[in-house]
């Protein structure tokens, strides 16, 4: 017997590739609950308090320090005087990773 798929309507959901899980992770959903923005405490896949649409309209930002936030949340933080341009998590100076945001997948590795 030969099975031909004429049309397959499938459903999937997206997740930010935060690099905290690897492709080979056997239980990719296990840590899903933890992935919240350190500033607004909303899941990365949700949106920051000022946004209404998740996803591309409310992207994430990665810092050199490997911390990840909603971009809007972080920019708002950086715009306050008290931030001193530091990462809110570890007080290191905030900076973009040398590689492009999407280029480097291995933030999780110890520096």
């Amino acid at each position: 017997m030969k099975v031909t798929v004429k049309q397959w309507n499938a459903v999937a959901y997206w997740k930010w590739d935060t690099g905290s899980t690897t492709e080979a992770d056997p239980n990719p959903d296990e840590d899903a609950e933890d992935d919240v923005c350190g500033i607004c405490r909303v899941s990365f896949e949700g949106c920051c308090p000022t946004c209404k649409m998740p996803g591309d309209d409310c992207p994430l930002i990665w810092g050199q320090c490997t911390h990840v936030f909603h971009m809007h949340c972080l920019l708002k933080w950086l715009n306050t005087a008290s931030s001193k341009q530091q990462c809110p998590m570890d007080r290191r100076t905030w900076g973009r990773p040398r590689d492009s945001v999407t280029g480097d997948r291995k933030f999780g590795n110890p520096i």
Binding site: M1, K2, V3, T4, V5, K6, Q7, W8, N9, A10, V11, A12, Y13, W14, K15, W16, D17, P28, D29, E33, V36, R41, S43, E45, G46, K52, M53, P54, G55, D56, P59, L60, V101, T102
Partner: protein, 689 residues
């Protein structure tokens, strides 16, 4: 001068002999003596009339034939006439004679005569003019005067008969007006015939008109009451058939202008509602339909809503307790063809619905009617949707249900445009406000984005795999099934995933493999089978293309360890299609079709719907959360106030706790609504008792 039996020949009163005798008496001035003599004779002989009455009334009671009454009247009239003959110069004594005769004969009538007269008179109605003589007799014998109530009753009987003949079941045309007209016409004819000549005698037409007016008023009441009673007994069907029954409702409105019938009407309506609607056998959808029609009908009958206010609460309470009511209402709210969504009035934002409302600037303002209860409040004029939504205290339920419904619908549509869904979400935004429907907006956006993504990845050429990529947090919770698609399905998935990752490098895909639909074509040796299947079914048959026989355990393992029930139902599906055969311990692919054996195919199991498991899961979660409530209570007692992430952090130490902060927030919020917690400055506290 003595009365004689009718059988004896009558001496003509004006014969020469009699005249001579009378003149003699006149000369001797003995008239009073003569009258006394005559009257005593009359009384003595009255037993003859009594016998006559008894005879005819016995006949009447035995046979109930109105003819006996007629004969009795004719007969007594004959006595009356014969005895009343008197010499010309005794005419002035006639009044005395009539009074005496009437008093005596009316006194010997048994009680059953009233009914007899009533029924007899009914028979005279169709041919009133032909009975002029009869009414003269009745008047002469004093019946018209003594039994005036019966005469009116006859008219009422007739009107009631007419209503009962022409109205039951006739809801599609107005009846009230024609009944009123015909009743008025009947009344005029009847009263003129029965009492007309009395008034000619007294020449007091004003009095007659006044009397007529009183009777007319009573008749009008009577018509209204009879019609209301009739319609109350039919009210269920009338409401169910609304708006075809609009004329009947309009009639009711006119009749109910007097509020005295309202208590009975309300009582009848409540009874019907209890018997026919508020019971387990009634379909929720039907209850809602009935409720909507009821609202519409009562709006016409009583625009201030007092009746509705008295009838609706049981329905609302019942609907609140029905688990599927929200789903039904939401489904209807999003249905394009639903009539109550097409009402043109400006939708009222739901938030305002619960506020009491009195618009004193309204020139049509009316005080509350007398029969309004103490708890009656003039409410803001509401459209049907708001009324339905206001059954529930919060609109969260609706939003949640709407989300479920929309999800089911969006995942079911193929490549058709989403205009309908977008339209109904837009319409609902006007009611519920923008913010609560944000999730729906995200869902719609996901659909559009998916479309663009698929077009981008595959170009315009049709590709077998079309993937809807959803934003997980904005869709109803989907219970994970560890399904792994085998063979070519896996390849399709992998290719798509890789392409997607190239297109959106910062995002990964996670499949929800059990959702969706597959249309597959099976090329077997002697036939091809084309079917629409679920992914699990497709996965099962894909495995059969690798190998002809499988047992359930192997299939389960190959598909990622999914539930036996799911595999079993997929197998049943293919058995139903005649592609697979159950051979006891194993299932075998039928490359060649087999003639159906004697055993009937196993009945296909009922397809499990997608929505209930989600609900079930929510319930379960809520149940489990209750366990953690004690932990929360404990830590808030010790530490007085905590922000949510501290609570979450501490709960993590509790055994088996696996909730997200969002779920915890929902739970805390619900506890706050119950008055158990207070939320101030980002801190949660126990409410002070």
């Amino acid at each position: 001068m003595q009365p004689r039996p009718l059988s004896e020949p009558v001496v003509p009163p004006d014969s020469p002999n009699v005249q001579e005798a009378m003149q003699y008496l006149h000369y001797r001035n003995m008239f009073p003596e003569l009258l006394r003599f005559r009257n005593s004779g009359l009384l003595k002989c009255f037993s003859w009339i009594e016998d006559e009455v008894r005879l005819h009334m016995e006949q009447w009671e035995a046979k109930m034939a109105v003819q006996s009454i007629l004969r009795l009247i004719q007969r007594v009239y004959e006595w009356f006439q014969t005895w009343g003959q008197a010499p010309a110069f005794m005419k002035h004594a006639r009044g005395e004679y009539i009074a005496l005769f009437r008093a005596r004969w009316l006194a010997c009538l048994p009680p059953s005569f009233t009914l007899g007269l009533r029924l007899f008179l009914r028979t005279t109605l169709p041919s009133l003019p032909a009975n002029a003589q009869l009414f003269h007799m009745l008047e002469q014998l004093g019946i018209s005067e003594r039994f005036d109530k019966t005469f009116i009753d006859v008219m009422f009987d007739e009107v009631e008969q007419r209503i009962m003949d022409s109205c039951p079941g006739m809801w599609r045309e107005p009846r009230l007006e024609s009944i009123r007209t015909s009743a008025r016409e009947l009344e005029e004819r009847w009263l003129t015939m029965v009492y007309g000549h009395m008034f000619v005698r007294t020449q007091n037409n004003d009095w007659f008109r006044n009397a007529m007016m009183m009777v007319t008023g009573r008749l009008d009441h009577f018509i209204s009451r009879t019609l209301v009673e009739l319609r109350t007994s039919e009210i269920f069907d009338i409401i169910v058939d609304f708006p075809d029954t609009l004329p009947a409702i309009q009639d009711l409105r006119l009749c109910m202008a007097r509020s005295q019938y309202r208590p009975d009407f309300i009582e009848g309506l409540r009874e019907v509602v209890n018997q026919r609607i508020l019971q387990p056998a009634a379909d929720t959808d039907d209850i809602i339909t009935f409720y909507v029609s009821l609202i519409r009908c009562l709006r016409i009958i009583d625009s201030q809503g007092v009746i509705l206010h008295k009838v609706a609460p049981p329905i609302r309470k019942y609907l609140r307790d029905r688990p599927d009511a929200v789903r039904c209402i939401v489904r209807r709210m999003t249905d394009e063809n639903e009539s109550f969504m097409q009402e043109t009035e400006q939708p009222v934002p739901i938030q305002q619905v619960h506020e009491p409302f009195d618009d004193y600037t309204d020139p049509h303002w009316l005080p509350e009617p007398v029969d309004a209860g103490a708890d009656f409040r003039t409410t803001r004029p509401m459209d049907i949707v708001s009324t339905l939504v206001s059954i529930y205290d919060t609109q969260d339920l609706f939003i949640k249900e709407l989300q479920h419904l929309l999800a089911a619908r969006l995942l079911a549509v193929r490549n058709s445009p989403l205009d309908d869904e977008i339209g109904s979400v837009e319409k609902l935004k006007q009611r519920f406000g923008e913010a609560p429907l944000q999730v729906c907006a995200v869902m719609l956006k996901d659909m559009n984005d998916s479309r663009r993504t698929n077009t981008h990845l595959h170009g315009e050429t049709p590709h077998p795999l079309y993937t809807t990529v959803i934003s997980r947090l904005f869709w109803p919770t989907i219970q994970p099934v560890p399904l792994k698609m085998p063979g070519q399905f896996k390849e399709l998935q992998d290719t798509f995933e890789a392409e997607f990752h190239k297109f959106k490098p910062d995002k990964n895909l996670r499949w929800v493999p059990q959702l969706g639909a597959v249309s597959v074509k099976l090329d077997l040796e002697d036939r091809t089978v084309e079917v629409e299947a679920t992914p699990i079914q497709a996965g099962v048959i894909e495995l059969f293309s690798e190998q002809d026989t499988w047992n359930v355990e192997d299939l389960m393992a190959k598909l990622g360890g999914i539930d036996r029930v799911l595999v079993q139902s997929a197998l049943d599906f293919w058995i139903g299609e005649g592609v697979i055969k159950d051979e006891g311990s194993v299932y075998r692919l039928l490359e060649q079709a087999e003639a159906p054996t004697g055993a009937p195919p196993r009945p296909r199991p009922v397809v499990v719907e997608e929505a209930p498991p989600v609900d079930e899961k929510e319930k379960q979660q809520a149940e489990q959360m209750k366990i953690y409530w004690q932990f929360i209570q404990g830590m808030l007692t010790n530490l007085s106030a905590l922000p949510i992430d501290r609570i979450q952090g501490m709960l993590k130490f509790a055994p088996g706790y696996d909730r997200s902060v969002q779920e915890l927030a929902v739970f805390l919020e619900s506890a706050r609504r119950e008055g158990l917690l207070v939320f101030t400055n980002g801190m949660w506290k126990l409410a002070k008792k």
